[in-house]
């Protein structure tokens, strides 16, 4: 390793951490195994010998492996490159060009924090072969981790700094109130109740006192009715969502740092430090799930190149710049992040879509409702009497009402969602950004840099053609790769796409003379 000057090793405390972790697991394991052996009649001395031997073997193996990993791994930061070497039996060398480095994320799990170490993931933000575009230093001291972050992202300093650096947003504890409104709440609650029921069923098999109490409680809950269960699930979900919020967003802060980097810091147990270079930013997206939207709040995600979308669980949360917060805060964050002062007014003057889009949404929403209603009705007519007889006199009368109850509830819901979806459809321009808004249950307002659009896809089904509509898809290197503007008016949509990204469509657009003249007149007005 001597040929590498200034080579650094990972932090030595990683070995101590492994030793303590495996040590405590080994002790627990030893106690369990030991007591089992002794109670099954094995001589005490032999049991102790076996258990101690096992402990030493496990501990020695894991600490040995970690020690080798520590010995064999070196990294070095030069003017141009970050080099990572692993040389034990085989030699492996990874090297990243420093000017390709796009992200430096620092995370520390609770155990790592206890030992003062952190994991640093350095990414080039390239798509393609996963793993090849990342270098992970899984144990460096906390100070070195933050120092590395600064050093590695410094190269962007020469880019202009148009506004003052500083804090863009900080956690406001009132935002925790939006956490239970997320879609996650019922799922979390159901999972919690399900886990309780599961645990209860473990105990249910034996004649355990605790088990039977839990089972009794469940039976009681069932007796008290579904409303109790539903309220319980929602309550558990709300508590879970709030706790999750506290863990994820504790100490949240969004800063703009010198050198054109955004820095998000957050996390209670696992601390996360996520940086995003401004030059990779292609826009921002305001996400408003239905519950959060009704509370007039929204979340802000970054649209940036090099953040892999989906997969890898935790990384998907890396693009979130602001948790669900009041709309005014979200808009302020978007306009500061994008350096676009007029975002709020641009969003109020978006172009709505033609009424034909509403009919399409109503049809989509009502078709499944009608189908389910027809199926329910058919079952009722064909077998209603038998089902009524089987359920007994108390519920017999209700069976005939099921299809109608379904219709009375489902039709208004479907219609409201369809109308809401239509009213949310909008698109427009805001300075350097193209705005696309859609969705009812999850409304998304994407602000996409116009120069970040690297192609258009225009879709038109036979139904859309008859209704004079088409669907525009702006493809981009960032975020999900494509942002869709569904059901725009044909002429208006093509003119919009042409205006939003000048030069890309122009040579393929056919304009009749009068429309062309009108377009010129509109251009003059601007």
């Amino acid at each position: 390793m001597s040929e590498l000057e200034n080579a650094e090793r990972l932090d030595r405390r990683m070995i101590t951490m492994t030793a303590v972790l495996t040590g405590s697991i080994a002790v627990v394991g030893a106690l369990v195994v030991g007591s089992t052996l002794i109670s099954s009649g094995t001589p005490v001395a032999l049991s102790v010998l076996v258990v101690l031997g096992g402990m030493v073997a496990v501990l020695g193996l894991s600490v040995g492996v970690d020690y080798i990993r520590w010995r064999a791994t070196t990294f070095r930061l030069t003017e141009e490159r970050l080099e990572l070497r692993f040389s034990f039996v085989l030699n492996r060398r990874r090297s990243l060009a420093r000017d390709r480095i796009r992200t430096v994320d620092v995370t520390a799990s609770p155990v790592q924090r206890l030992f003062g170490i952190a994991a640093v993931v350095i990414g080039t933000g390239q798509h393609g072969e996963s793993g090849e575009s990342e270098v992970k230093l899984d144990a460096v001291s906390r100070e070195r981790a933050h120092q590395l972050r600064h050093e590695l992202l410094r190269h962007a300093v020469d880019t202009e700094s148009r506004t003052a650096d500083g804090t863009i947003a900080e956690l406001d504890w009132r935002w925790a109130g939006y956490a239970p409104l997320s879609m996650l709440t019922p799922a979390l609650g159901a999972a919690a109740v399900g886990a309780v029921a599961n645990v209860a069923s473990w105990f249910g098999d034996s004649d355990d006192v605790v088990g039977s109490v839990v089972t009794d409680l469940l039976i009681a809950a069932a007796l008290f009715g579904y409303i109790t269960v539903v309220v319980g699930v929602l309550l558990a979900g709300a508590i879970g969502a709030t706790l999750l919020f506290v863990e994820m967003w504790w100490g949240y802060r969004l800063d703009r740092e010198p050198g054109g980097t955004f820095h998000v810091r957050r996390g209670l147990l696992t601390s996360r430090s996520i940086s995003l270079e401004e030059r990779r930013l292609r826009g921002a997206e305001i996400i408003e799930p239905l519950g959060v939207r009704l509370a007039r709040a929204g979340r802000v995600d970054a649209i940036a190149t090099g953040i892999r979308d989906g997969g890898q669980g935790e990384r998907t949360a890396h693009k979130t710049l602001l948790p669900a917060a009041p709309r005014a805060v979200a808009l302020r964050v978007v306009s500061e992040v994008l350096r676009e002062p007029d975002v709020a007014s641009a969003l109020t003057s978006l172009t709505p879509h033609p009424r034909a889009a509403r009919s399409r949404r109503l049809r989509w929403a009502l078709t499944p409702v009608v189908l389910v209603f027809a199926v329910l009705l058919a079952i009722e007519i064909a077998a209603g009497d038998r089902i009524a007889a089987a359920t007994g006199p108390a519920f017999g009368g209700l069976v005939a009402a099921v299809p109608w109850v379904f219709a009375v509830i489902a039709v208004p819901v479907a219609v409201l969602l369809a109308i809401d979806a239509f009213r949310n459809l909008a698109h427009g321009l805001s300075g350097r950004y193209l705005v696309a808004r859609r969705g009812a249950v999850r409304r998304s307002t994407a602000l996409l840099q116009r120069t970040g659009v690297i192609g258009w896809t225009v879709r038109q089904s036979i139904f859309q053609r008859r209704a004079g509509l088409l669907t525009l898809v702006a493809t981009t290197a960032a975020g999900s790769g494509a942002y869709t503007i569904p059901d725009v008016d044909v002429a208006e949509g093509i003119a919009f796409a042409d205006e939003a990204v000048p030069g890309l469509l122009a040579e393929f657009v056919e304009r009749p003379d009068e429309a062309y003249a009108a377009g010129l007149a509109r251009d003059r007005e601007r």
Partner: protein, 161 residues
């Protein structure tokens, strides 16, 4: 439709040998099914001759009509500044990728395409969803096109994101 702003269709059609290519594909899919049914019908259960006949009739009709239809609706064009394709009729899709954003140009020739001297050119951009595919060009034309596209994209600075 003549009096609104709209996208004009791309100028070029695919090579006429595409008709053969598509028909060969259909024959390869339908042929074995018909043959199996017919063989079973002749040897085991004569009833199966009927579905064999129906499958053959449908396959022939499909193979005669659909390729003509596809040939009409698949179009492409490469200009100095962009690659433009249009496919489909019931679900029409037009894709435009600007030259300046093209990252890779691939030419692929399957076994059938090699027999017929056809090729597929795929142009990708930095977007995961922005690839433009022209399937069924004359092989020589495709090679020239790929060379030309590669040259143009190399001349364009930037990382195309």
């Amino acid at each position: 439709m003549g009096n609104t702003v709209r996208l004009r269709p791309p100028n070029n059609q695919l090579n006429r040998r595409c008709l053969l290519w598509w028909r060969a594909w259909i024959a390869l899919v339908v042929g074995p099914i018909v043959a199996a049914l017919a063989a079973l019908g002749l040897l085991v259960a004569p009833v199966l001759v009927v579905p064999a006949g129906i499958a053959a009739a449908v396959g022939v009709a499909y193979g005669v009509i659909m390729p003509l239809w596809w040939y009409r609706v698949h179009r492409w064009e490469v200009t100095d500044t962009a690659v433009y394709t249009r496919t489909g009729y019931f679900w029409q899709e037009s894709r435009i990728a600007p030259m300046s954003r093209i990252q890779t140009v691939d030419t692929v020739r399957g076994p059938l395409q090699q027999l017929l001297r056809l090729a597929t050119v795929t142009v990708t951009t930095a977007s995961a969803k922005g690839a433009v595919r022209i399937a069924g060009l004359d092989a020589d034309l495709a090679a020239d096109l790929a060379a030309e596209l590669t040259q143009i994209t190399q001349a364009t600075p930037g990382d195309a994101t």
